[in-house]
């Protein structure tokens, strides 16, 4: 893993959680939306908090796609799950939402989960390539993936 790749994972976490918090803050100005007043959603698009939230979530999506281009899905999802923790902490500090004991327990579990994958390789060789590399003429991409997985580990 290079510094650039860690920064991309960090961007997924930071942009995702800050985007959600901005959207949450913006939607507070409009109250509950239901089928009778759904047009409020269109007006909400003009709210500065909602606009910033959408912009941040677009940046989140770009960095998420970038991470998926070089890491396994089963690495990216747990590794970026710390975003849930950051969202809870930001909501507690900025939006004054209540963080309960269950929330703190959840934060501890997520942190442990992130720790499990963070120490492993970000990209593994596909299962079938383990057998393929034993045979001559194995697909070149699989060989590259195997090599990358070894260097990451």
């Amino acid at each position: 893993m290079t510094v650039r790749k860690y920064l991309i994972l960090l961007a997924v976490v930071v942009f995702g959680s800050s985007g959600n918090v901005c959207l949450g803050r913006g939607m507070r100005d409009f109250g509950p939306v239901n089928s009778s007043n759904w047009t409020r959603l269109l007006i909400a698009l003009l709210n500065p908090w909602v606009l910033v939230g959408i912009g941040l979530l677009l940046l989140f999506f770009c960095s998420y796609l970038s991470a998926l281009s070089w890491a396994d899905l089963t690495y990216v999802l747990p590794a970026t799950a710390f975003g849930y923790v950051l969202t809870a902490l930001l909501a507690s500090r900025l939006l004054h939402e209540n963080v309960t004991v269950a929330h703190w327990l959840g934060i501890a579990l997520i942190t442990a989960g992130v720790g499990f994958v963070a120490t492993g390789p970000s990209l593994t060789a596909p299962v079938e390539s383990c057998a393929a590399t034993k045979h001559p003429g194995a697909h070149s991409r699989e060989l590259v993936l195997t090599k990358n997985a070894r260097s990451d580990a």
Partner: protein, 126 residues
């Protein structure tokens, strides 16, 4: 609305969200490292390659379906049930789907991570 319908809705969210994640992950692996493409060909080429990928667009469609399934299911049951259940089950389903469809090597460390994160998200979103 019955709880059976709500659990049907949660199943729809999990299936469509997992399909979206798997399709997008596959599309991104086919396109290649976006950072490398950006450095050699520029941002425009990155954008062109991503949006011209049928698998990416299909993944986007499934993500939109997951979002609308979430909205509909939220109208059938409490957010305290739908939120944690769908988020936690999607983590587990993604681990299975990545193993089956993406041929990822999901070792015990990644299974443990998926289980811990799923449990943590369920507690956090509740």
């Amino acid at each position: 609305m019955s709880s059976a319908a709500a659990w049907g809705g949660i199943a729809a969210i999990v299936i469509t969200a997992t399909a979206g994640d798997v399709l997008q992950s596959r599309a991104m692996k086919e396109i290649g490292d976006l950072g490398v493409i950006r450095r050699s060909r520029g941002w425009l080429q990155v954008l062109r390659r991503v949006i011209s990928s049928p698998r990416f667009m299909l993944g986007l469609l499934f993500m939109a379906l997951a979002f609308f399934s979430l909205l509909v299911t939220l109208s059938w049951d409490d957010v305290s049930v739908v939120g944690p259940a769908s988020a936690a089950l999607t983590f587990i389903a993604n681990a299975f789907a990545a193993r089956i469809f993406l041929k990822e090597r999901v070792d015990h460390r990644r299974w443990m991570a998926a289980m811990f994160v799923a449990g943590g998200v369920a507690l956090l979103v509740h």
